[in-house]
Symmetry: C2
Subunit: 263 residues, 2 copies
């Protein structure tokens, strides 16, 4: 009979993770009080089992379950538009919960044709809107997207030009780009595979091939500005065989390094 | 009299942002129903004013206000341990709400002494625990911290060694490192300024200066592994003047580039 009682204890559905913790992914609608009872019972069980981090992923349609979880000592870990991930560290020892993502990753694409003209755009939105500034196509790398793939995609989307990735010429780190988060911006050298421009109407006001020296001569490209570095790097690449970082396979992901100097 | 009525309308405290939207930072405890009424009235006002994105930052102690905000059409944008940021795009036009942070940023520090020995550690936690593998000190860059500063801090914390930053030798991009997020790992060359090791007991099992060739000869450093690339890059730096990316000031932040090739 005791055995039967133990088996009847209701717990939240949880999977073990690789770090001695458990992950709960809620999917079914549930009354807040029912959830609170299940959570309390499950926490006792996990504590007895010596579990460390407890993760609860709550889809936005189950938002009523966020408040009870917080009342049981959970904190937010991260959120995307349709869910919030909460976490609680059970042991007395120092938490080894991994940090949240801190950086957004952007790319700027340097595309030069055989006439020493650079592919440039004017943006319809953002801080440069209406200022007549010609700049390289830029964009945000999607979650899970390689920098080199993101650069090819952004050029295609904004200008219709097909390119292949050559190398990363430089990167910039910038803080508090939005709220408290930081930003890494990769300047990518690309080789054009097509030349007829078709602009993306929503984001782009105009696009054209512009002589490199004219891009550099814009007042906006003053000393220590990003655009000035971009044009200087492009000139160094064309005239002096500047060596950036090229992608190579590594067991986990892609490594970018100075291939010429390594070999 | 009409004027007086209008002035008496209670709205949520909001600040305009630079993109035609408003930001609400909630601080005072509030009943959920009171908040819901204020939110509905404020949304009508903002809609009439042609506002675009509406941001609401809710500290975790006011978790009772998350559910009413979601019911009024807000989505999550991001969260840190002590708050969640919600957002709603009012206009009919396509949302230009910026993407959430997608990457965590890590550093690995390559520190070599004058005897061609590399500073290496064995970790107490994580996947390499108990495997006897000697690796370079690594760590996560804090939000708002420069890569070069983070590398100096991690070496000091783990081994007690003071260093100065030389350059980024390479970087690796890796996806789904935790949940759906990605990871950028910067391999940093550092010059040691002190040599007596004092290990950090919580994270580090052991630390020592190890001949570079012995680090490279470990079975763990097989072809295409990150550790193999790190030792190869270090040898290229010492023997063949490999050129990585050095930091330079740029109007917004720090740019890392191949200074030797640029000049």
């Amino acid at each position: 009979m005791e055995q039967a009682t133990v088996e009847n204890v209701q717990l939240l559905p949880a999977k073990n993770d690789d770090h001695g913790g458990v992950v709960v992914e809620l999917e079914e609608h549930m009354d807040s009080d029912v959830f609170l009872t299940l959570l309390k019972t499950s926490l006792s069980q996990w504590t007895m089992q010596g579990k460390k981090g407890v993760w609860i992923k709550i889809p936005i349609r189950l938002v009523n379950l966020v408040e009870p979880a917080v009342k049981e000592g959970f904190c937010y870990h991260h959120a995307e538009s349709d869910y919030v991930m909460l976490v609680k560290w059970i042991p007395e020892t120092t938490s080894t919960i991994p940090a949240n993502a801190s950086h957004r990753v952007g790319v700027g694409a340097v595309v030069l044709n055989h006439k020493r003209e650079m592919l440039v755009v004017q943006e319809k939105n953002g801080p440069l809107r209406g200022k007549g500034i010609w700049k390289v196509p830029t964009g945000i790398v999607d979650v899970g997207e390689d920098i080199c793939t993101g650069a090819i995609r952004e050029v295609k989307e904004e200008t219709g030009i097909d390119t292949e990735f050559v190398e990363v010429l430089a990167f910039r780190q910038w803080h508090k780009s939005f709220f408290e988060k930081s930003d890494l911006f990769f300047v990518c050298m690309m080789r054009p595979l097509s030349f007829d421009i078709q602009i993306q109407e929503v984001e782009i006001e105009a696009a054209k091939w512009m002589p490199l020296e004219e891009v550099a001569a814009q007042p906006f490209a003053q000393k220590e500005s990003l655009l000035r570095y971009i044009t200087d790097l492009c000139i160094a690449k064309v005239e002096r065989d500047y060596s950036g970082f090229s992608p190579l396979p590594v067991t986990s992901g892609v490594i970018y390094l100075n291939k010429r100097d390594l070999n």
